[in-house]
């Protein structure tokens, strides 16, 4: 009636959640306090600086110096800054969500569907942060943008609807895409 692996999955999931409940890994007040302290200690990074961290322009400038140790040092530093920024952004997300659940749990008119939507939006962003973090550790920070450009180009080439467009429309579409 109910699949074998489904039953095993339910039991395992129950054990995992009980482990979190027992270890107090929920969004407890102490944890939130720590996050708020971290929040006041660190100032948020302006978007221009963030763009610069992930931009290839500085790396190109350093590459012109033709000094491999300098280039290696630069990439290492940039990676550290990028990882710090991603962690910081992830922390911002956690603070926003924790503040939300702390206030929402006391509301009389809390709506399950809305809460699920907010939770999904939060989880998507946490996944994106995780993905960015993993990418920043594997490739150099400016490589992230190069990867995105490559993926975008690849998608454009593979997209059959786009390739059917006549020349001028395709050009305007590309212009729109590049100004985003």
């Amino acid at each position: 009636m109910i699949a074998f692996f489904g039953c095993i999955g339910v039991a395992v999931l129950l054990f995992v959640l009980l482990f979190f409940l027992g270890s107090g890994s929920g969004m407890d007040e102490r944890d939130l306090g720590d996050l708020e302290i971290a929040d006041t200690r660190e100032a948020s990074c302006p978007s221009e600086v963030v763009k610069q961290i992930f931009s290839a322009r500085d790396l190109q400038f350093v590459a012109r110096e033709a000094s491999p140790p300098l280039q290696h040092f630069f990439i290492g530093e940039r990676r550290r800054v990028a990882i710090g920024w991603i962690r910081r952004t992830s922390l911002d997300l956690r603070i926003a969500m924790r503040e939300h659940v702390r206030m929402a749990r006391e509301k009389e008119d809390i709506d399950a569907a809305t809460e699920v939507r907010v939770l999904l939006q939060y989880l998507r962003l946490r996944c994106l942060c995780g993905l960015l973090l993993a990418s920043a550790m594997v490739v150099r920070p400016s490589g992230l943008r190069e990867l995105a450009v490559y993926a975008s180009e690849l998608f454009r080439r593979l997209d059959p609807a786009h390739s059917l467009l006549p020349g001028p429309e395709r050009a305007s579409s590309r212009r729109l895409h590049s100004t985003r």
Partner: protein, 251 residues
């Protein structure tokens, strides 16, 4: 010999828990759970007596009492929900809807998958396994809400939840393996539920030894912000972060 030892240990542990629960007046706080404990103790003693003096009727008695135990167990889940979310009526309403949804989904799936076989064609083992799955689903949903909304549980309630959850998980595992692999060699899983149940009784004993007041939830200071405004504010913050992340990788 081992079976006898497990049997006697569970009976002794259940009696000790009930003594502690009575002396600490925990039955006022958790009446359904205490009724469940009394039922389980009576069930164990009756089974013990029947097993030794009237072994012929033991299988029928076992499955009938097991079924009643499952129903009383549903009351325990209801009590966890009632006591745990007492201070949070909105969250309690949401959890109730979620529980109803889980119950409806699992029952609907069971009925659709094998129409008409719910009571007649299934063996007692399958029936118990399916009911335990329903209970596990309900407890899963409840624990997820408790974790997500950081609902503070007192030690007593946390112990009840942990213990009953472990018992449910072990029951589902044991019954699923039993259905899949047949009766098989008893050493594999015959003692799984008994061992898990002993662990559960120890958890209950430790957590119900004395009455501990549940921690008071810290109230968030809000400027009478209504729920829709709160959601809009959170989504705005998440959207801002999304834009910041987007700028990083946007070609």
């Amino acid at each position: 010999m081992l079976t006898q030892a497990i049997w006697w240990s569970t009976i002794i542990l259940e009696v000790v828990i009930l003594v502690r629960v009575s002396s600490e007046s925990l039955y006022r706080k958790f009446p359904i759970f205490c009724s469940y404990l009394v039922y389980v103790l009576l069930e164990e003693v009756t089974r013990f007596v029947v097993f030794h003096w009237w072994p012929g009727i033991y299988p029928d008695l076992y499955w009938d009492s097991q079924f009643v135990g499952v129903l009383v167990g549903c009351g325990v889940i209801f009590e966890i929900y009632r006591v745990g979310l007492k201070e949070f009526p909105g969250t309690a309403r949401m959890a109730r809807n979620l529980l109803l949804f889980v119950f409806a989904m699992v029952f609907a799936k069971a009925l659709v998958t094998s129409p008409g076989a719910w009571w007649s064609g299934l063996t007692a083992v399958k029936l118990e396994r399916d009911l335990r799955i329903v209970q596990s689903g309900a407890l899963l949903a409840l624990v997820a809400v408790l974790l997500l909304y950081a609902i503070p549980l007192g030690n007593n309630l946390k112990g009840i939840t942990m213990g009953y959850g472990i018992f449910l998980g072990a029951s589902v595992l044991e019954l699923t393996l039993m259905i899949r692999l047949g009766d098989g060699p008893p050493a594999l899983w015959a003692y799984l539920r008994s061992a898990a149940y002993l662990a559960v009784l120890l958890i209950w004993l430790l957590n119900l030894w004395s009455y501990r007041d549940a921690p008071k939830p810290s109230r968030a200071i809000t400027l009478d912000e209504d729920y829709n405004m709160l959601v809009a504010n959170t989504r705005r913050r998440l959207q801002k972060t999304r834009l910041a992340l987007g700028k990083v990788v946007r070609p």
